[in-house]
């Protein structure tokens, strides 16, 4: 481990090596890839929420000049689909099919695919496909889907309940708390019912794929923006029934992923199959409407919570029921995000008695799956709104109520009744710092005087935890999560002493290439310019257990550190031989291999030793030539990032418009590798979080089951003028579990954003008793709340 004073790159805002091509317009995104002979795919999607498909007449489309083939479900004989990788006990499986087999279950579900000379022509051909649909009753609301007599989405499963999973609130001693006792003992019982809106990553780049089948070599190369190429390779080979050794996934630049690209999708199978059929490269680029209809959605939950408190503000118990609107099929992670909501809802607080039922519900909507934050932001919305409601009921300041219930810095590791073990943090310190930064007492005073002038200012606090660095594989096994939690790294030192680092991580904008180079440069104590990072090719890069996410670089960084430790140990052994010294007397420092105490005289550069390692003329007995190592790191535990955000807003009670006054962030993500990039990640995650809090929503029409927000004119993403400047402060509590002390941080910004905003708005309107229990808090929604409250 590099000691602090030798550190040169960790903690430095190293410039991003990713930028050079991107600022010149020379990035290479999926749409920019077009091998010779490429033909183009377009996909016919169901215009109905729920309809039986009695037949598809493809003749006219097939007859169109320039059309190569049409695929329907009938062509998928022998082709599999992608399994749900999180298979909780009792979860009724309903994998997402590549093409709707006999029945379409949501608007946008793939029904057929056409391949033609150009995308324009392929779309012409879609118009000629004649599908005989028999429209069925649909349901796009979770409660309606659970009601007796509701249309059943997947008849094989009997009804629309996919799973009912209970968190019994097991404590550190392995016994469940006394939830009924807590509620009997309570002075106050506070209830809340929250609708967390359906929204998603909506990356600026839509998804896309290019598949190249080589029939002579029997290899399939898939260019894909998947965040988890190894897993895609494994699952795609299985679905297509070809050996995994035949499949290579290449990842170009990705124009945003936000978790949505963690999933496997029907189109992965369709382009591959078409390429295998035609023996030509097949390209598919999603258009924006498809992106909004058919890239996974996220978040949507209906939560009911009850909180038992004593009059001094102690939270005695929390119980809840979370209905997760899964959409029509389980997609890749199943009900995983909702499970995480149940696991995380106790947040930073010592709540001894906890009980939560999580219910996964099928509806006629786009599958709800992986999206930045993965159930955590939903949990934070519930608990942080409950804390504010409780504070108001008890007449205790919301900051004070939080402080009284927080886990203290000396209580780690903390066994949460949600089932997670929190590794470290200092929650009260983060809260205090946030309050200080926002000048809490002053803002509270101003709030009073402003109100007299008719300005409705509100202050919203939201604290959060983010359990990340998803974890020890054995724990994932216990959770029935069918991947590993490890990341691998291969480091090769070339004969000139430069390093090439191979990672399974996929840079999606978060600067992974730069941060991993920083870690490697520090560890080898060489100039960062001498480190190259290779990613995005399953033929070269190590298998990733879990895949890339904004909060995975911490795990990947440890794999780099460990691989380099092995390299340094080998360099010392080889160097000792060359220096004719005992290996115990030789050390690696400053990028050199030297005899301890004689660094001036008896010393070799890394390049000297590397050259010898490749010549292999004078290696110690039993030593293998070359200088490279691979380390696969399986985290010892989860890491928990944490912090507090404070939002200050003014609400216009005549229009429901929200104006920003201030937004303060205090976060603690352990050791920071690159402060500038961390700020960028926090700001970006906040824009995702606040987007869903204020604007973004997939709206379904109850009557028709149509997705109403299927253009960017209806699905509103935050623009320049919708977001505030964020004032960011850090606390640094290094993770005790990971080498380097890094914690995952790329998602944390979106955790407290929605409750901070909702709490601020409710606080601004406290005189009217307005409660903000649904996201997004659009101006029209807020205006009706104000109106109903008589404001």
């Amino acid at each position: 481990m590099t000691t602090t004073q030798e550190t040169r790159w960790i903690g430095v805002s190293a410039p991003r090596r990713e930028d050079a091509p991107l600022i010149r317009g020379r990035g290479r995104y999926i749409a920019d890839i077009e091998p010779a002979g490429t033909v183009h795919m377009a996909i016919l999607r169901s215009p109905y929420a729920h309809a039986r498909i009695n037949g598809i007449d493809t003749a006219a489309a097939e007859a169109l000049d320039g059309v190569y083939c049409v695929l329907t479900a009938a062509d998928l004989e022998g082709i599999g689909d992608f399994p749900t990788i999180w298979r909780l006990p009792g979860q009724k499986e309903s994998n997402t099919p590549a093409l709707a087999p006999g029945k379409a279950r949501y608007v946008g579900e793939p029904v057929a695919a056409v391949v033609a000379d150009s995308r324009y022509m392929a779309e012409d051909a879609l118009d000629l496909l004649d599908v005989d649909y028999e429209i069925l009753d649909h349901v796009v609301d979770v409660e309606a889907a659970l009601a007796d007599g509701a249309p059943v989405i997947n008849e094989d499963l009997g009804d629309n309940t996919i799973i009912e999973y209970t968190f019994p609130g097991i404590n550190a001693l392995g016994v469940a708390g006394d939830i009924d006792g807590a509620f009997e003992e309570a002075d106050e019982i506070v209830s809340g019912r929250f609708k967390v809106g359906r929204y998603s990553g909506v990356a600026l780049e839509t998804r896309g794929l290019v598949a190249e089948w080589d029939d002579l070599r029997q290899t399939l190369t898939l260019h894909s923006g998947s965040q988890v190429a190894s897993l895609l390779r494994t699952e795609l080979a299985a679905a297509l029934g070809i050996p995994e050794t035949s499949v290579r996934i290449l990842t170009p630049n990705i124009g945003g992923a936000f978790g949505n690209q963690w999933d496997r999708y029907p189109e992965d199978i369709l382009v591959s199959l078409a390429s295998m059929k035609l023996g030509r490269p097949v390209k598919w680029i999603e258009d924006r409407r498809e992106a909004l209809q058919a890239t996974v959605h996220g978040r949507e939950q209906l939560q009911e919570w009850q909180l038992a408190a004593s009059s001094d503000g102690t939270v005695l118990g929390l119980k809840g029921r979370v209905l997760s609107d899964q959409g029509a099929h389980l997609h890749s992670v199943g009900i995983g995000p909702a499970w995480v909501t149940g696991a995380a809802a106790v947040n930073q607080y010592k709540i001894a008695n906890y009980h939560c039922d999580v219910v996964g519900v099928a509806t006629n909507k786009t599958p709800n799956s992986t999206f930045r934050g993965f159930g955590g932001p939903e949990a934070m919305f519930g608990i942080e709104r409950m804390m504010d409601k409780t504070a108001r009921r008890l007449g205790i300041d919301p900051a004070e109520l939080r402080r009284r219930n927080m886990i203290q810095a000396d209580e780690f590791p903390y066994f949460s009744p949600g089932g997670a073990v929190y590794d470290s943090g200092n929650y009260p310190a983060a809260l205090a710092k946030a309050l200080e930064a926002v000048e809490y007492d002053k803002v509270r005073e101003e709030q009073q005087s402003l109100r007299e002038q008719g300005v409705y200012r509100g202050i919203g606090i939201a604290s959060y935890i983010h359990v990340s660095g998803f974890g020890p594989s054995a724990i994932l096994g216990i959770l029935d999560y069918y991947t590993g939690g490890y990341e691998g790294s291969t480091v090769k030192i070339d004969p000139h002493g430069r390093a090439t680092l191979y990672t399974g991580m996929i840079p999606m904008g978060q600067g992974t290439e730069t941060t991993l180079a920083q870690v490697a440069a520090d560890q080898l104590e060489i100039d960062i310019a001498n480190v190259r990072v290779v990613w995005g090719d399953t033929d070269q890069t190590p298998y990733t257990g879990f895949g890339s996410a904004g909060s995975r670089s911490n795990v990947a960084a440890v794999a780099v550190i460990k691989a380099i430790e092995e390299i340094k140990a080998k360099a010392v052994r080889i160097g000792a031989g060359l220096l004719e010294a005992d290996p115990d007397d030789v050390a690696y420092a400053d990028g050199r291999i030297s005899v301890k105490g004689a660094e001036e005289m008896r010393s070799l550069t890394l390049a000297d030793v590397a050259q010898q390692a490749y010549w292999a003329h004078k290696l110690p007995e039993g030593e293998q030539p070359t200088l490279e190592a691979t380390y696969v790191y399986d985290p010892a535990n989860f890491t928990t990032a944490c912090g507090t955000h404070v939002a200050v807003v003014d609400v216009d009670i005549d229009t429901g418009k929200i104006d920003w006054v201030k937004y303060v962030v205090v976060d603690d993500a352990g050791t920071i590798i690159n402060p500038l990039l961390v700020e960028g990640q926090i700001q970006g995650a906040l824009s995702n979080g606040l987007g869903g809090a204020m604007l973004e929503e997939f709206v379904y029409d109850e009557e028709t089951g149509q997705l109403l927000s299927s253009t960017l004119m209806d699905y509103l993403v935050p623009s320049f003028t919708d977001l505030p400047d964020f004032e960011i402060h850090h606390l640094v509590t290094p993770s005790p579990h990971t080498e380097g002390g890094f914690k995952g941080m790329g998602e944390a910004g979106c955790f407290p954003a929605a409750p901070a905003l909702a709490n601020a708005v409710a606080d601004a309107l406290s005189h009217l008793g307005v409660e903000v229990d649904q996201t997004p808090v659009t101006p029209s929604r807020l205006w009706s709340l104000i109106d109903q409250a008589g404001g």
Binding site: G25, R26, A203, G684, S687, T711, F720
Partner: protein, 163 residues
């Protein structure tokens, strides 16, 4: 094959005759016929600004125009900004101030930023936010883009530099 029309596109100072279907957008022609893939497509319905190019000095959305309408105009795409290592101040500022993450919005943002500063050499953060409101970024939360454009404006007022 549908009927095609011939049109001369003047892009980044060079004129090239291309033969395109009348329905082909300028964005697709720039990307496919001229091979300039720095112009990106994020929505193809005029909302996101990823396809921004400069046409006769004004920002336009190349997804909303047909290629055949662009004959005779002087078009600048991201590839026409900065030469080799001699980057435009806007490009340098985006990199230095971390005004980009995934980079997909970046060509459009850089062109829009150049346009803003060409009209207002010393824009305030609020002015930048308002003027660039037609360009969407999903990664950065905008703050560092605003800082980048401000920094570039400062460099440009001392060094000069325009599209």
């Amino acid at each position: 094959m549908a009927e095609t029309m011939s049109v001369v596109l003047n892009v980044n100072g060079a004129g090239r005759s291309v033969s395109v279907e009348p329905r082909k957008t300028l964005a697709d022609a720039i990307r496919e016929d001229l091979g300039l893939t720095g112009t990106h497509l994020g929505c193809e319905h005029g909302v996101c600004g990823a396809c921004t190019v400069l046409m006769d000095g004004e920002v336009v959305r190349s997804c909303l125009m047909l290629a055949v309408q662009a004959g005779g105009a002087e078009i600048t795409t991201i590839e026409g900004i900065g030469a080799g290592d001699d980057l435009h101040p806007m490009q340098r500022a985006f990199s230095e101030y971390h005004g980009l993450q995934c980079g997909f919005c970046t060509p459009g943002m850089i062109l829009a930023g150049i346009d803003v500063v060409s009209r207002n050499p010393d824009p305030s953060p609020q002015e930048i936010r308002e003027e660039m409101g037609g360009n969407i970024c999903r990664c950065t939360g905008y703050q560092k883009i605003v800082e980048s454009v401000q920094a570039a404006a400062a460099i440009m007022s001392t060094e000069g530099g325009s599209a």
